[in-house]
Structure formats: structure tokens, C-alpha cells
């Protein structure tokens, strides 16, 4: 901030060498030296590919070989092919899952931010799934949901008959919910930790003052905890919607998109890397990106409006 203040040096005529040794020259030099690598990486692995992707979406092409310009044809296909745009319907399952996940995380975070015996241990148990690699998760849940294995056994302990239970990953009426369940399992602990962090950032005196004033647990939740986690909660709601639209990992590692579990991105991955229809896959990517941007901007405006109206 004030670094710029001491650089308002009088402008004398100097040789380049002198300038380089001056404070001004040093400043530019250090900026160049420190910015060049991250900016090159950002360009090469984000912005150039991004531009390429938009270009690809107008071509009929594979990674290698001839390319043919086809105009808007790929985009028309995205909307007309049954397996492309229709796959977005599955996002609704994942949105439902995020609602469960965020509420669960909020509930547990509230419990854990008060004094609880063994709180750290519980927190650790619930957070740990977040640290497991995706492929391991795939195997763990293929095993977990196999007929007669872990999940079925536990349900049998609870009195269910094996015959009355569905095939969790094959049965089209339930398999998407099974997959969403794995995603909730993996992330609720992480969400919980974020919420606990936000709740803990509130000054302890506030709770003590509230206690003295005779506020009950619910009032403390409503008037102290809720406002303190507003920012992070809204952020997570926004993230969970764009996350649901781009849901990928659970079907990719567990079912490989079989039996009607292929989300939009799983279909796109298949089209890009197995069928090598790079143009069509790029068009799919561009369409979804536009949708995500639109949704994100709408949500931001919505929350801005709501909070201006509601709390101030």
C-alpha cells in the first residue's frame, strides 16, 4: 500500500543500467522475476486451453488428425442428443445431497462448538473421509454396496430382509441416491470443519453475555451462530450448486456411469477421451460453464438482495 508512496521519485534522465539499479528498476525487476512463472503457468494451463476449448467446440475433430469446421453443429448436438443435456437431470440428486450435507454439517458443527467430551475425536472421525483418494473411495464403495456385503449386512442387523433390499448400484430407481450418499459421506465432515472454524471465530464473551442474559441454545444458534457463519454458509451453498451441475467423481470411480448414473461430466469425459469426439465434448464443456456462470451470478445477486433486506 505505502510501498507506492516511496516510489514517487523525481524523473531524471538516467541510463538503463542506472535505472535498473535504482529503486524503481529493482521494483520492476522483482515483479517480473516473481510474476513470470505463475503467469506463464496460468496462461499455458488455463487461459490458452480455455480459448482452445471454445475454438474446438466449432470443429469436428480428434486430438490427432484432420479438423473440420462445423459451425454450431456441436452445440445443436449437445441439446438434441439424449445422453448429453439430459444427463443434467441427475444434478438434481446431487443438489438434494448437498442440502442434506450442509444441514448435517451445520447441525454437527453446532454440537461440536459447545463443550463436548471427546469432541476432537468425533470431529476427526467424521472429517477423515475427506482425506481418502478418489480411487480408494471407488473400491471402498463398490465393496460397501455389493449384494450381501457391508451395507446389506448392517441393514440386516436392523431387521431388514436381504430379499427386500435393492441392488444399490444397479437398480435404476436407487443407484443415483447411493452414489450421492457417498459424496455426502465424503464431504459432510469437511463442511462441518469449515463451519466450526467460522463459529469459533466468534468472540467467546458474546456467548457468555448471551448466557447471562438468559438466551437458550436455540436463541444462541439463531442470533450468534447463524450470523457468524453466514458468509461461509452462502459460499458453500453457491459452491454446492455449481458442484452438483458438474458432479463427476462418484459415478466415475464407482459405477463408471453405467446403469443410468452417467452425469453430464461423466458423459463428457467419455465422449472426449474414449470416443475422441473432442469438438462435441468441448461444446458440452462450454455450455455447462455458461450455465454455471449464470447460476453463480444469479445466486450472488440473490444473496446480496436477501441479506441487504433481511439483516441490515
Amino acid at each position: 500500500m505505502s510501498a507506492s508512496a516511496n516510489t514517487t521519485v523525481k524523473k531524471n534522465k538516467r541510463t538503463f543500467g542506472e535505472w535498473l539499479r535504482s529503486r524503481d528498476g529493482q521494483r520492476v525487476l522483482v515483479m517480473l522475476a516473481f510474476l513470470i512463472i505463475p503467469m506463464v503457468l496460468l496462461m499455458v494451463f488455463t487461459y490458452i486451453p480455455f480459448a482452445e476449448m471454445v475454438k474446438f467446440s466449432f470443429y469436428n475433430m480428434k486430438y490427432i488428425g484432420a479438423r473440420k469446421f462445423v459451425g454450431w453443429k456441436n452445440y445443436i448436438k449437445v441439446f438434441s442428443r439424449k445422453d448429453c443435456f439430459g444427463a443434467l437431470k441427475l444434478s438434481l440428486y446431487y443438489m438434494g445431497g448437498s442440502v442434506v450435507q450442509l444441514s448435517l454439517a451445520l447441525y454437527l458443527a453446532t454440537i461440536l462448538s459447545f463443550k463436548v467430551k471427546g469432541g476432537d475425536v468425533f470431529k476427526g472421525f467424521m472429517f477423515f473421509p475427506f482425506l481418502i483418494n478418489g480411487i480408494a473411495i471407488g473400491f471402498i464403495f463398490k465393496f460397501f454396496y455389493t449384494r450381501g456385503f457391508v451395507f446389506d449386512t448392517v441393514l440386516q442387523w436392523c431387521g431388514f430382509q436381504l430379499d427386500s433390499l435393492p441392488y444399490w448400484l444397479k437398480d435404476r430407481s436407487i443407484n443415483n441416491i447411493s452414489l450421492v450418499g457417498t459424496s455426502v459421506w465424503r464431504y459432510f465432515g469437511q463442511n462441518m470443519v469449515l463451519f466450526i472454524g467460522a463459529i469459533m471465530s466468534v468472540d467467546n464473551e458474546l456467548y457468555e453475555a448471551a448466557m447471562l442474559d438468559g438466551a437458550n441454545k436455540f436463541q444462541q444458534f439463531r442470533y450468534i451462530i447463524m450470523p457468524s457463519i453466514k458468509t461461509i454458509f452462502v459460499l458453500n451453498v453457491i459452491l454446492s450448486i455449481s458442484g452438483s451441475l458438474s458432479a463427476f467423481e462418484p459415478p466415475y470411480v464407482i459405477t463408471d456411469g453405467a446403469n443410468g448414473t452417467g452425469t453430464y461430466f461423466v458423459v463428457m469425459h467419455e465422449i472426449a477421451h474414449t470416443q475422441q469426439k473432442v469438438g462435441l465434448a468441448s461444446a458440452m464443456a462450454v455450455v455447462l460453464l455458461l450455465i454455471i456462470f449464470a447460476v453463480t451470478i444469479l445466486q450472488k445477486l440473490f444473496f446480496k438482495y436477501v441479506f441487504k433486506d433481511g439483516t441490515e
Partner: protein, 282 residues
């Protein structure tokens, strides 16, 4: 306190602990069932229910088998090399970038911040379609340094953690060093970087876990699985003919998540605080 109030209080306590125990059980069950199965011999695995405890907790045969079949020795070496390189380079790049963005006012500062923020919003799976082509053109497919380079790219969360930390380091420190005639490089390397240590540790742990667990790009850019598998992608060995030998697979899975578990147990605090400070800013 009246009796009804007392009962209410106990009910509340009961619900509290019931919820915690129940959801901890839910979180642990899938992993614990894997541990149980990993200790079973083939015969036990075929003849007993998955939730029946193994006869011996000392049957490490599956672990040895899985380790060898999936080439995990090689995989651990690769993952270690990748981890060290990615952490060193991304820490250097990230702290330097944060230093410039926080300490210098120049036209384009805000633009650069926004460019990184925007980049983080692009979903990785979609971006890998064109990135694959670029990796191919650069000759980075099946090349360890190539994969390391792409892994060092945009990491907004780390940059935010560093910028936040810089904001809390008094700029008077820089200014007095300048008066003493120190160059910007000296200020950065000798004065600021050592002060940044807690932030570096935090973001390295997060980035480290992320890098160790990364499998999508590793699978795509390190296709030669005999030579270049990482710990995560070495598990792909179990797809296919071995796909139903779950006692073997579970052993492989458990081996692959041991390092993450150890880091978690030793560095819980940093992981939590890193997540929190990264998220609030974003």
C-alpha cells in the same frame, strides 16, 4: 432447576452424543469394513460374512500381495518425487506471487488476482479436454516433470492463505529494511519468507494431501502404469480380473490411505486451520 428442565437437559445431552456416535459410525463403517476384510485369508473371505472379524489380525499376506501386485514400491517412490517437487515449486511460486500482489501497487494487480480467481472456478474435468492437447504438444505425456509442472499451476487457496498472512506482517518491516539498503530479493528471502513459515506449513499439508490423492490427471498424463504409477493410480491394477478379490483390494486401499492417515493424525490442527482460512477468503 425443576424436574422437567432436568429431563430436558438430559434428553438434549442424549441426542447430542447419540448424533455424534451415530455419524462417526457412518463415517468409519466403510473404512473399518475394509480393514476387517483386508486381514482375511481367501478361504475366510469366501466363507464368512464381510462383517465377521478375521481369525487373525496378524495376517499381513494380503498387504504384501497387494503391495507387490500393484507395484506399490515403485508407486511410493514416484509419489514421493512428485510430492517433493510440487511442494517446493508451488510454495516458491505461490509465496512470490502473493508477495508481489500484496506489497506492490501497480496497474493490473487487481486483474491478476481476478484471473487466478476465475481460473479456480473452471471445473478441472472440463479443462482437461484442451489441456490434454497442450500436454501432448509439449511432449509432457508420460513424463514425470510434465505432470509435476501441470500440478504446480493455479492454486488459489494457497495464494489466498499467503496473501492473508502478508497482510498481517507489518509493512514497516519492509520499509526499515529498504532504508538499511536491502534489495527486494533480500527482503523477501531473508525477512519475509521465514516469517511466512506457519502459512507455508499449513498450505503444504493441504496441497500435499491433494497432490498425493490426485488421480484424474495422473491417470491421463502418466499412462505408463508399470513405470509411472502414483500410489493412487497404482490401485487401478485391481480393476479387471482381480476385481472381486476384495480381501486383496481392501489391503491395497488401506496401504494407499495410510500416509494420509498419518499426516492427519500428526497435523490435524494445521489441516483444519488451513481449510478454514482458505475457504473464508475464497
Amino acid at each position: 432447576m425443576s424436574i422437567s428442565e432436568k429431563i430436558g437437559k438430559y434428553v438434549l445431552i442424549f441426542f447430542k452424543y447419540f448424533s455424534l456416535v451415530f455419524f462417526s459410525f457412518v463415517a468409519l463403517l466403510p473404512v473399518v469394513s475394509c480393514v476387517i476384510t483386508a486381514f482375511k485369508t481367501d478361504e475366510e473371505y469366501q466363507n464368512t460374512n464381510v462383517m465377521v472379524l478375521p481369525k487373525s489380525w496378524l495376517n499381513f499376506e494380503n498387504f504384501a500381495n497387494a503391495f507387490e501386485k500393484a507395484g506399490m514400491g515403485r508407486a511410493f517412490i514416484n509419489s514421493t518425487i512428485i510430492l517433493i517437487c510440487v511442494l517446493v515449486f508451488s510454495t516458491l511460486i505461490g509465496t512470490q506471487l502473493a508477495y508481489v500482489l500484496n506489497r506492490f501497487k501497480f496497474p493490473g494487480n487487481k486483474l491478476i488476482r481476478n484471473m487466478f480467481l476465475f481460473a479456480s472456478m473452471l471445473p478441472g474435468v472440463a479443462m482437461q479436454i484442451p489441456v490434454y492437447e497442450i500436454m501432448y504438444k509439449l511432449g509432457f505425456i508420460n513424463l514425470l516433470p510434465g505432470y509435476i509442472t501441470v500440478m504446480c499451476g493455479t492454486d488459489v487457496i494457497a495464494i489466498y492463505i499467503y496473501i492473508q498472512f502478508f497482510e498481517n506482517i507489518d509493512i514497516a518491516l519492509d520499509e526499515s529494511a529498504i532504508v538499511d539498503g536491502a534489495s527486494y530479493f533480500t527482503i523477501f528471502y531473508r525477512i519475509l519468507l521465514p516469517l511466512l513459515k506457519p502459512a507455508i506449513v499449513t498450505s503444504c499439508i493441504l496441497k500435499g494431501v491433494g497432490t498425493y490423492n490426485e488421480y484424474y490427471m495422473a491417470n491421463m498424463y502418466l499412462q505408463d502404469k508399470t513405470r509411472l504409477a502414483t500410489v493412487a493410480t497404482s490401485l487401478y491394477t485391481f480393476v479387471g480380473p482381480l476385481g472381486s478379490k476384495y480381501n486383496l483390494i481392501c489391503a491395497g486401499v488401506i496401504i494407499s490411505l495410510l500416509p494420509a492417515l498419518i499426516v492427519f493424525i500428526t497435523c490435524q490442527k494445521q489441516i483444519y486451520s488451513g481449510l478454514t482460512s482458505g475457504a473464508v477468503k475464497g
